[in-house]
Amino acid sequence: MDRLLGALGVDAGQWRALTRAYLLMDLRKGGGVQPSDPKRRRWSPDLPYAGLVIGSLLNSIIIAILVFVLEDPFTATVLMVTMAAMNSAMLLLVDFTGFVVSTHDYWIVGPRPVASRTYFAARIAAVLVYVSTAAVVMSLAPSVMLFFWHPVGITGALAAIVATVLCCVAAAAGVITLYTFLVAQVHPRRLGRALSSLQLASSTLSLAGFYLVIRSINGVAVRQVSIADQGWIWLVPVSWFASIVTTVIGAGGAREHAAAAAAVILTLAVLALAAGRLSFEFAERLSAASTSAERSRKGLLGRIPGFREGEAYAIATLVRAQFRYDMRFRFAILSIVPVTIFYIFLGLEDGALRDPFSGRGGPTPVYLAVTLLPLTLHSTLRYSEHWRAAWIFFASPADPARLLIAAKNFVAIFFLGGYLLLMSAVWAWFYDAFWHALVHAAIIGTIAHMLLQWAVLLSPSIPFAAEPRTAEQSGRVMKSFFVASMGAGIGPLLLPFIYRRGWTTIAFGILLAGATVMLELLLRRRAREEMLHLEFRS
């Protein structure tokens, strides 16, 4: 190992020390606002990776179901590898400064005699441990399914895990290369905006790819879908990784062997490309980007009713500033946009944008976006790169419970409300009557708000007051995705009953309103209780 590292120009001793330190740090809980009584910290495990493993396991089950449904093992493997790689790439895109480079590195490691290459090798090793952990967990259930339902044997199942890990590593290295290229090209002042655009563009592109694939297999029974004989699939690198399985079990020809070799070469090539880019200079530019902000525009916050003074004004200012300057927060919010557009297109294809008052409305992916938004918002609101600034909440006579409620209200009104306004415009276009769209938006919005209330009730926390830890937030997002999928799948089945008659709709509306008020009262009580026991740990 030392010889290999030496040949790559990496100092083995320094690499080992740095990698060990980075992994140790990733495995530890961060600082910020926490309950002073250790017994109250029951739901904040000291292992951020636990969230990642649980989230990956949930995704693994979803992929396994798809692998079970498909008859063709190659198509199943392509799907498994694609979903895992997309997941890894998205996690890095959402949380690049958390996973790949810390803005503190420049000041801590910069003055030490550590070559850029050694620093990069240590950082990439920590990322690969993270990506590989997620990839292995995500490929577990689908591989078991491949073993039992497809003639690939134990070797094929193991090869599927290897192929998934390789593809995830290549995807991660690809993201690093893209990111570092942008960091080198764009002025630090405009970097935040440019990185958000990159994140949005890449997520839109990958979803567009999915959409095209779905369109191309339209009309074919899912079970019989097979892409092995389609010429175009060999232009898509994920098929090269899937070919590793075909090659290992001896089922492929020269084309599959060449594709498998190309997969390995591609992984090494992307890693080498990324290798030349991560350096201290890169860490320094990221550090500069986090401190040089775009010029702030004059806000209208002072004029918004309900957010004109006190804790509500403070929170509105904070959320707005976080959205403008915190890349992680901004992307978590904006990532809903391409997902929604994708789901609207899917909805157009399968007629799911039909008026639910007509009795034909059922589960549609659009609801997934609506339910995902409040859960994502809640998990994102918790963390900030500038978590140390939360001391101000403890040094001023601000009421922590009011802060928490104000944060919930602000995101509910401005993010969830804005989103529902957009959706009601879309629904108004497709539904039989304008008021159907409005009533439907109000009911869906209230349910989404209740989800947000529920999330805050279960885990009340002062906004932007916790240190972001590698994998912790991603784990939460993955769990949110699972819960939202369940809610969006089951909830809409009730819609035909709710909208059947006028009185049922009114009765359900009253029931929802009552439940929201109850939840709000419960939430306020819980918030006051919990906030009394918080302390700022820095």
């Binding site: 000041w107 005699p113 201290f280």
Partner: protein, 254 residues
């Protein structure tokens, strides 16, 4: 020792450093002063091998900072102004990481780290995470991490921040002892009384240019004042302090 020749650095269109030329001999404690944004941190970053100068030459401990930054970093210790530490690590883990980055043998480093933390009165907290440390305790760890590998040149940027009076006294004595051993000390601080007492020579920069150089007494004499503080204000002061404080009070509504 440190030698710079026409050192210049630009951040985009902004020139942070103009043709800086200075020499610091072994065993000398140089006080490097200047108002906020004068170019002190840029100079230190260049001399510590963390930033490439746009123009000019700097030799630190016998090595060119542009051509051989790793050789320079092996021989320098740096206490940055901001307490930049990996706070998820314990004090012991952090110092052992630093020792490993300087290629210190593991067992020897472990013993040394233990001794150092004991001397710094952090023995009982050595297995606590740095996130739990007070500002002064973090500063002690930063100082220890800068001196662990026995550097020839030491850059200290506000090294006494957060230290209590006893610890500050020990650090000041330590700086003098290091200089007596022949190490070069580059001392940046805004606490002028300390600079006056500790440093053998002082350089004041403003807007990236050297505006005064000499002992504290010489600089005071050059400016027609009696103290270093008076000299500093007369050289770099943009506003009258009494008037500025009155304006501030007015802004506060008093």
């Amino acid at each position: 020792m440190i030698e710079t020749e026409s050192l210049r650095h630009d951040y985009g269109n902004t020139r942070a450093l103009h043709e800086l030329t200075l020499t610091v001999a072994p065993g000398e404690i140089l006080g490097f002063l200047g108002p906020n944004g004068a170019g002190k941190s840029t100079t230190v970053k260049i001399l510590a091998g963390m930033l490439r100068p746009s123009f000019g030459r700097a030799i630190v401990a016998g090595y060119d900072v542009s051509a051989q930054p790793l050789e320079v970093k092996r021989r320098v210790g740096y206490v940055p102004e901001a307490a930049a530490l990996y706070e998820s690590l314990t004090a012991r883990e952090y110092l052992q990481l630093v020792a490993a980055l300087h290629h210190q043998p593991f067992d020897a480093a472990r013993r040394q780290v233990h001794d150092l933390l004991e001397q710094l009165e952090l023995a009982s907290e050595m297995d606590h995470r740095l996130a739990e440390f007070s500002k002064g305790m973090k500063q002690k760890v930063l100082i220890a991490s800068a001196l662990l590998h026995r550097p020839e040149v030491v850059f200290l940027d506000e090294p006494l921040t957060g230290l209590d009076a006893n610890a500050a006294l020990i650090v000041k004595e330590l700086i003098r002892s290091l200089a007596e051993q022949g190490r070069t000390i580059f001392f940046c601080s805004h606490v002028l009384e300390v600079v006056e007492r500790v440093c053998s020579r002082i350089v004041i920069i403003d807007k990236g240019r050297v505006i005064a150089e000499g002992t504290a007494a010489e600089i005071a004499r050059q400016t027609g004042t009696t103290t270093l503080e008076g000299a500093f204000v007369s050289l770099t002061g943009r506003r009258d302090a009494a008037q500025a404080s009155q304006d501030l009070l007015r802004a506060l509504g008093n």
